[in-house]
């Protein structure tokens, strides 16, 4: 009896402490929930978690892109991918575990909708995933590759930096892999430790020929991802994994683009400029209001959005 009770308590604490996400995936994987159907209570998990300390700040509902729907970050990614595969018949999505919906549910429903030749698993090999993606893009088809965690992008570093970035330049524009986009979950999540938390954008920030983009929210993510996919240069799109369920916003259902290499001034200020990207934008918003309150300092907040090529003019203005 005592054993059963303690086992039950152990199970409960497992659920509570965030294995919940894993548990949910185990139960939910393979079951056909409408992929635009938002999952419940991301907030509870965040509140129980004592490690992450920021509040996601949604932007007001966008009016200029038609009908919107409440989506979290992974759903906005799915929506962008859905739009892309619908309008571009050459587009394919591939990587580890994308077929069943992905370890973060970003590709749920897409294989059923578009077919197994367009949404498929690859062997467990990041250098292969990116190399394969480059090859697809060289023929002019649209390649959307997923690297399961940004922490594992390093085996593909040679293919990204020595190949993808230089393809157009070294061939005198005879060949290019502009229709390649690499997506990858990024950034700290509280419990990820060394190998499920990395933010490796700095390694790519000085590599001419590629673009690196990091969104702060579902609305931003969909528009920026669509721009990356349509951009004629190889792009890396990092998705803040801690926001996958925690960030919920009204996001347009149809396709729309947010321009690359354009930073956004989220809040104007006169004393100091704070530049951030991804999750940190929300932290820096809190910091700005604390600075105002406690120090009387007026902060300008800029979300950089594209890390390379970055918007020097907006930041330096």
């Amino acid at each position: 009896m005592a054993a059963v009770a303690s086992a039950a308590r152990w199970l409960f604490s497992l659920r509570a402490a965030g294995a919940e996400g894993h548990w949910r995936r185990l139960c939910g994987a393979g079951l056909a929930r409408g992929f635009l159907h938002p999952t419940v209570t991301g907030e509870d998990a965040a509140q129980r978690r004592q490690v992450a300390h920021f509040t996601f700040q949604p932007d007001p509902e966008p009016r200029e892109y038609g009908q919107t729907q409440k989506m979290n970050l992974f759903q906005s990614i799915t929506s962008a991918l859905d739009n892309s595969l619908a309008k571009d018949p050459t587009a394919v999505i591939f990587g580890e575990d994308v077929a069943f919906g992905g370890v973060f549910r970003c590709t749920v429903g897409l294989r059923d909708k578009y077919g197994k030749d367009r949404v498929f698993n690859t062997p467990l090999c990041e250098q292969g995933i990116v190399g394969f993606g480059i090859g697809i893009a060289v023929t002019g088809a649209t390649a959307i590759a997923e690297i399961q965690f940004a922490d594992y992008i390093f085996p593909a570093f040679d293919q990204i930096v020595n190949e993808a970035a230089k393809y157009r330049y070294r061939s005198g524009d005879l060949f290019n892999c502009g229709s390649l986009t690499i997506r990858s979950p990024w950034g700290c999540v509280g419990h990820g430790a060394l190998y499920h938390s990395q933010s490796p954008e700095a390694f790519f920030a000085h590599c001419p020929g590629i673009k690196v983009v990091i969104p702060r929210s579902p609305f931003q993510a969909k528009g920026l991802l669509l721009s990356c996919i349509e951009d004629k240069n190889p792009c890396i799109f990092f998705e803040p994994k801690i926001l996958y369920r925690a960030a919920v916003e009204q996001v347009p259902v149809e396709s729309y683009n947010i321009p690359l290499s354009q930073a956004e001034v989220i809040q104007e200020g006169s004393d100091v400029t704070l530049v951030a990207w991804g999750t940190q934008v929300h932290v820096i918003r809190e910091v700005a209001s604390m600075a105002k309150e406690k120090l009387g300092v007026s902060c300008e907040i800029i979300d950089l959005r594209t890390i390379i090529p970055w918007d020097v003019d907006t930041v330096c203005k």
């Binding site: 994987a29 690859t122 062997p123 394969f132 993606g133 090859g135 060289v138 023929t139 419990h191 190998y195």
Partner: protein
């Protein structure tokens, strides 16, 4: 919790569900997703049918402890059509190619050889910065190129100039790339021998080795989706086959069912590293079956063997959407490059053997002579003519200016970003003031 996330990565979740589903199918309504006992699981499959059920392999049980012996003493046999004297061994393997085609083989190989001699020499004289010859491997290039369609996409490593030669890439453009002059389609950006040609479906060469292998697989996958009836061929050396990218490429091609020919030029050396230090197994061909890839080893110095193997591989790759691996055994007669002196690691006798006793050009010449399709007079005339063609192209290439320095900044991205435009303008201003310190007279204005 890091452990849980890591576990999620390693556990094949869908497979666990799949196996549970299997249980459900076998015994309706019984246990659903509950933990199954090994004992009970055995009961579900008849004891008369005691076969392994592992998802990972399709094989029988064995009760004898035995390690599989890799066979390197008597490896995969080498397919050939001609003997070393250019005589057809088995008439049923003779491709019966028409005279014009075989003459084209011969002329492509010899023209390449002539161009190699002249460009190697031009590097020695300081006219170009670097060069790599193809001596001894001309048969691998021409035999395989001839077996493909003109629109089949080629991904090479760096020692496949004969493929371009066979596809009638003009001497002027070979030279332009080596000289980096204004006629270079690559805009003078790369070292010599890094050729590329969109029109002839030859993807531009890059220096990092084996990176082209998974790329070729991706291109083949796209060709399959487009119903293009095209094959992709991917060339690499036995040294590059040690790279991780090679393993990645083979595995992806097999699992994703791509119409691709992997063509390995096993020429005995990776710069100074002999094959005994490159691998311990039975070469590259023996790796194919490990990936589920149909594989063959051929005599790379026998242009007909190379042709036959590539032709059949192409036919089946496109028809069946699966990869093929061809390991062409050959010998690198020349140095690795103009930066190498191979006498430091191999004997002159060894090199001479291959040059004199087993050379693709000689063997084909013997065949041509025995067919009465060639003779000494034509040989003399062709040598003179091909040398003249090469020298003319060479002299022209020397005289042309280099591309405009503005081309340093374009094509980094499809559009030129502001930062690069500012750098470009900055250089232009700098040259206006200090131009006298730069050899601007050699560059296009």
């Amino acid at each position: 919790m890091a452990v849980v996330i890591a576990a999620a990565r390693f556990w094949r979740q869908s497979r666990i569900l799949g196996q549970a589903a299997l249980l459900l199918l076998r015994r309706p309504g019984a246990r659903g997703l509950a933990i199954s006992h090994p004992h009970r699981q055995q009961e579900q499959f008849s004891s008369l049918d005691d076969k392994p059920q592992f998802p990972g392999a399709s094989a029988e049980f064995i009760d004898k402890l035995e390690f599989i012996q890799p066979n390197v003493i008597s490896g995969i046999p080498i397919y050939r059509v001609m003997d070393r004297q250019g005589q057809i061994i088995n008439p049923s393997e003779d491709p019966h190619l028409p005279k014009e085609k075989v003459l084209k083989f011969y002329k492509s190989m010899t023209l390449l050889n002539t161009m190699d001699r002249i460009l190697y020499e031009s590097q020695r004289q300081g006219r170009i910065s670097f060069y790599m010859t193809n001596y001894g491997e001309e048969g691998t290039h021409v035999g395989s190129a001839a077996a493909l369609d003109n629109t089949d996409l080629v991904f090479g490593q760096y020692r496949e100039a004969g493929v371009l030669m066979y596809r009638d890439y003009p001497l002027e453009l070979f030279m332009a790339q080596c000289y980096g002059n204004i006629s270079d389609l690559g805009k003078g950006r790369q070292m010599p021998v890094h050729y590329g040609c969109k029109e002839r479906h030859f993807v531009t060469i890059s220096s990092p080795l084996a990176t082209q292998i998974p790329q070729a697989v991706g291109a083949a996958y796209a060709a399959k989706r487009a119903n293009a009836n095209r094959v992709v061929i991917c060339y690499f050396g036995e040294g590059a086959a040690s790279e991780g990218d090679a393993h990645a490429g083979f595995n992806f091609a097999a699992t994703l069912e791509c119409p691709i020919i992997f063509f390995c030029r096993n020429n005995g050396y990776a710069i100074s590293t002999p094959t005994s230090e490159q691998y311990r197994g039975d070469g590259i061909a023996a790796r194919g079956p490990g990936y589920g890839i149909l594989s063959i080893r051929v005599d790379g110095n026998d242009v007909f063997a190379v042709y036959n193997a590539t032709k059949e591989a192409r036919r089946r790759a496109v028809a069946e959407n699966q990869p093929f691996l061809i390991e062409a055994m050959t010998y690198r007669i020349g140095h690795h490059s103009t930066s190498d002196d191979s006498s430091a690691y191999r004997s002159v006798d060894e090199v001479n053997y291959w040059d004199k006793q087993d050379h693709p050009i000689s063997r084909l010449r013997h065949y041509l002579l025995s067919r009465g399709w060639w003779d000494e007079e034509q040989e003399k005339a062709w040598r003179k003519q091909s040398r003249k063609k090469v020298m003319e192209a060479f002299e022209q290439a020397e005289r042309k200016p280099k591309p405009n320095p503005n081309l340093l900044f374009s094509d980094v991205y499809q559009e030129m970003p502001r930062q690069l435009r500012k750098q470009q303008e900055s250089l232009a201003r700098h040259l206006q003031t200090y131009g006298e310190h730069y050899p601007l007279e050699h560059f296009d204005k």
